[in-house]
């Protein structure tokens, strides 16, 4: 319909893809984007359309690129239950409390579930340690770094 050769269209698409992904990856400003494409010698109208295309799709492209980065399994959710062991093959008449948990993680879109157990003392220790971890983000040091990095 466009009356252009297949190769030209392919190159055109590849060029557009490269332009948009590189721009999104680097998160360049509008001004920088406009300056960059000016050298291509397109018409003003075309430049405006390209800029709009960039701005409209930038967020989505960035979120897709974000998923390509190396990642550890990420937390999904945790289920827990309280158990008390009353007896075992080697010892009768016990009262051994434990917390059994199912930790659900996502590894590159594949959900995994792991069953874990802990005793009450360790549970309290875990809570204390992780609360300390959460507290760190509110500290001035972290806030300063987050502010200055941008």
């Amino acid at each position: 319909k466009l009356n252009i050769g297949f190769d030209t269209i392919q190159h055109g698409i590849e060029g557009l893809v490269y332009l948009l992904t590189e721009s999104s990856k680097l998160m360049i400003s509008e001004v920088d984007f406009q300056d960059s494409i000016r050298v291509l010698g397109f018409s003003d109208e075309l430049n405006k359309s390209l800029l709009q295309l960039y701005l409209d799709n930038r967020k989505e492209i960035r979120s897709i690129l974000g998923e390509l980065a190396p990642r550890l399994p990420s937390y999904h959710s945790l289920e827990w239950r309280l158990d008390v062991q009353l007896a075992s093959r080697s010892l009768r008449q016990q009262i051994k409390p434990a917390v059994t948990m199912k930790l659900r993680l996502n590894q590159n879109e594949d959900p995994t579930a792991q069953v874990l157990q802990t005793d009450p003392a360790t549970l309290l220790h875990l809570i204390q340690q992780l609360e300390q971890a959460l507290g760190e983000m509110k500290m001035n040091h972290c806030r300063r770094i987050a502010r200055n990095m941008k």
Binding site: L26, L78, S88, R92, L103, P120, L130
Partner: protein, 151 residues
């Protein structure tokens, strides 16, 4: 036991039998949480004299707690969490995406296997909100533990 100088005059086979018998008796008593009178009665039925029974029971009483702890630790259970480490990091960029500016936590749960004693730790990353969710759930579990102990 076979190397003990005091016992070198006794036939090793007899020694082994005695050892096995004593061990079986002790383990069974521990498993059933038998009290001293039950053990005494049992030993009386085996025709041991009073002095030996008393000696046995005293020694048993001394080591009873350690024995019960040992017996209680035998058995299978899911991977047991022993500790947790965490790391707070701030991501600036990666090769796919620059200017990411994302804080995230890396949490590692140190885990022990009752059988082999070692197991790769469980690590995962999470955002602050996810960590808050996790801590919230752990606190719920702790609260319900507390309520259960008060019943």
């Amino acid at each position: 036991i076979l190397d003990d100088p005091d016992l070198k005059d006794i036939d090793p086979t007899v020694l082994k039998h005695c050892h096995a018998a004593a061990a079986t008796c002790i383990l069974e008593a521990g498993k059933q949480r038998a009290d001293i009178s039950a053990i005494s009665t049992c030993l009386e039925d085996c025709k041991l004299d009073k002095e030996r029974i008393e000696q046995f029971c005293t020694e048993y009483q001394k080591n009873k707690d350690a024995l019960e702890i040992l017996l209680g630790s035998i058995g299978r259970s899911p991977l047991h969490i022993t500790d947790v480490s965490w790391r707070l990091e701030y991501q600036i960029k990666n090769n796919q995406l620059h200017k990411t500016y994302q804080p995230s936590y890396l949490v590692t749960l140190n885990v022990e296997n009752s059988d082999s004693g070692s197991h790769p730790d469980v690590s995962f990353s999470c955002t602050m909100e996810q960590l808050q969710d996790l801590v919230g759930k752990l606190k719920d579990a702790a609260k319900s533990l507390e309520r259960a102990t008060q019943m």
